[in-house]
Amino acid sequence: MSASEFDLLRSVTLGQYLPTGSVLHRLDPRVKLLAGLLLLVAVTATSSLAGLALALALVVGGFVVARVPLRYALSGIKPMVPFLALLALLQIVAIPQNDLNTTLLWRWAFVTLTVRDLVAAALLFLKFAVLMWGFSLLSFTTTTTELTHGTEHLLRPLQRIGLPAHEFALMVNIAFRFVPLLATEAERLMKAQASRGADFGGGRRLNFVQRMRKQLPLLVPLILSSLRRAEDLILAMEARCYTGGRGRTHLIHLHAERRDYLALAGILVVLALTVAAGFLSADAVIWRAIASIRTS
């Protein structure tokens, strides 16, 4: 039997926390945040499929160590697939890679499809996928609390030059706290309005304005409720003497241990290889090696 029309949280893995108590869960959040940053840099900078495969192996290995069901973890990419397919297509059409070094596979009017094109498309796809899976690994193994503490601790040295680290961390923390509440509220509102016959689906012949108007029964109450929550929260914070980050003391202190440094070092090495693979033309080397194995 089909599930309800309203099960919104089903296919969203990014931002989900899974408490499996693995060693990854126990790492210092600063290490995980830095790893995320390094992954972003490495994946963006590399031009090698082999390098990306390394990064992918790192992330998948992470899922295994973290005891996250692999199928569930990888399914997080599903909502993105149409968008990525479109991007890949655009890449092939708009950025032709038909210099002399590559084989022409197919031609139609002004569109050429070469091996290089396929490689570029695959790179694009993989880059997004690895990033998405990498960040979902981060959220599976790190509570939002740890993330904000980690961010705040990393930014604290900058407080001396006037960066409002605590205010920023608090803002992020409050956002994390209320987004799930808002999601639940949105679902409830959709159900309530549907019970009055509302139909949020877009019709074929509706223009943008009409489509937006259809969302009003959802948007208006949500915005009003958010404003109300914000007002209440401000009162509650003032009642507890919040006046900004200056002069505050702290209950939570992060302590990095040896395993944190080791993990960071390991990740750094793998990701450095990911980038290096691009510079060392690792793809070409591997391709030639495969070709020579085949002919021998």
Binding site: F176, R229, A236, A239, R240, H250
Partner: protein, 281 residues
């Protein structure tokens, strides 16, 4: 006689968007240390407005409010006033700031600059007092509404206030949550905390030493629960109900002579009945 903890004099408050109609008019209220005061009134009578003057969240448009001898208009004393009078609001979700129970409790003392090494003990004590020690490391969204409100109390207690103001704190709770909260509040009162409970649940109001009735911004009654709930007609005319048992006692008193009509709780009613009947079943 020691200085009262809270005193208001001719307190008047007009909201900027209120069209000139005062939300509070000429309120003179005194709260002594250790008292348990319930503030009741119909919706719109000014209950919450009054509560927010007691910790300087609102300032009077006319008149004065003193907390522990400090005038709420004194900007230099606002921090002290808010540390002295802690507040718990109606919506369990909208007053929790942190994503871990113990960190929310620590929020207040952290703001006050309580030294890092004293914080863990404070948090532990506050959580123990409200019975949430086992939940210390959990995220608040996994707590029931009643537990969230107790968390809010703990977060206020961690600042070591002398007085706790509850602004319709049980309004959004189910019966189990309400009972848990009232138990906690009773315990706090017994250990010396002054309690001010704004409520529209009459079974809560009867717990207090004193009931203050507001109507259209003014105080219309101020006395013990028994005294205040005696005049059922006047209360109903201003949109306030009497406790159900009070109503029942009055019905019985109309049928049986010499039946006390100022009974307020189920147990007291049962006692009165058995006393009247000579205790035979």
């Amino acid at each position: 006689m020691p200085e009262p903890l809270i005193r208001t004099h001719n307190l008047e408050h007009v909201y900027p968007a209120g069209g000139g109609v005062p939300a509070l008019r000429g309120v003179n209220l005194t709260v002594r240390r250790g008292e348990y005061v319930a503030i009741i009134g119909a919706n719109g009578s000014g209950k919450s407005t009054l509560a927010r003057h007691l910790n300087a969240l609102l300032l009077p448009t006319e008149g004065d409010v003193w907390v522990n001898g400090w005038n709420t208009r004194d900007a230099a004393r606002v921090r002290d006033i808010r540390q002295t009078v802690g507040m718990v609001f109606q919506d369990p979700d909208n007053q929790i700031v942190a994503t871990v129970v113990e960190e929310d409790v620590a929020f207040g003392p952290e703001n006050l600059g309580v030294p890092d090494d004293e914080l863990p003990a404070r948090v532990r004590w506050a959580l123990e007092t409200v019975g949430l020690s086992a939940q210390a490391k959990r995220p608040p969204h996994l707590l029931s509404a009643g537990q969230k409100q107790r968390l809010a109390i703990a977060s206020a207690l961690a600042m070591k206030p002398q007085c706790l103001v509850l602004d319709e704190a049980t309004a959004m709770l189910d019966p189990v949550g309400k009972a848990e909260l009232l138990l906690t509040v009773r315990g706090l009162h017994r250990s010396g905390t002054t309690v001010l409970a704004v409520t529209h649940t009459m079974s809560e109001a009867v717990e207090a030493d004193r009931v203050v009735v507001l109507s259209e911004g003014g105080v219309v009654a101020d006395g013990t629960p028994a005294d205040v709930f005696r005049d059922e007609e006047t209360l109903q005319s201003i949109g306030v109900d009497v406790p159900i048992i009070s109503h029942l006692a009055r019905m019985v008193a109309q049928r049986i002579p010499d039946f006390p009509s100022d009974v307020l709780t189920v147990q007291a009613f049962a006692d009165a009945v058995c006393h009247r009947l000579g205790g035979q079943g």
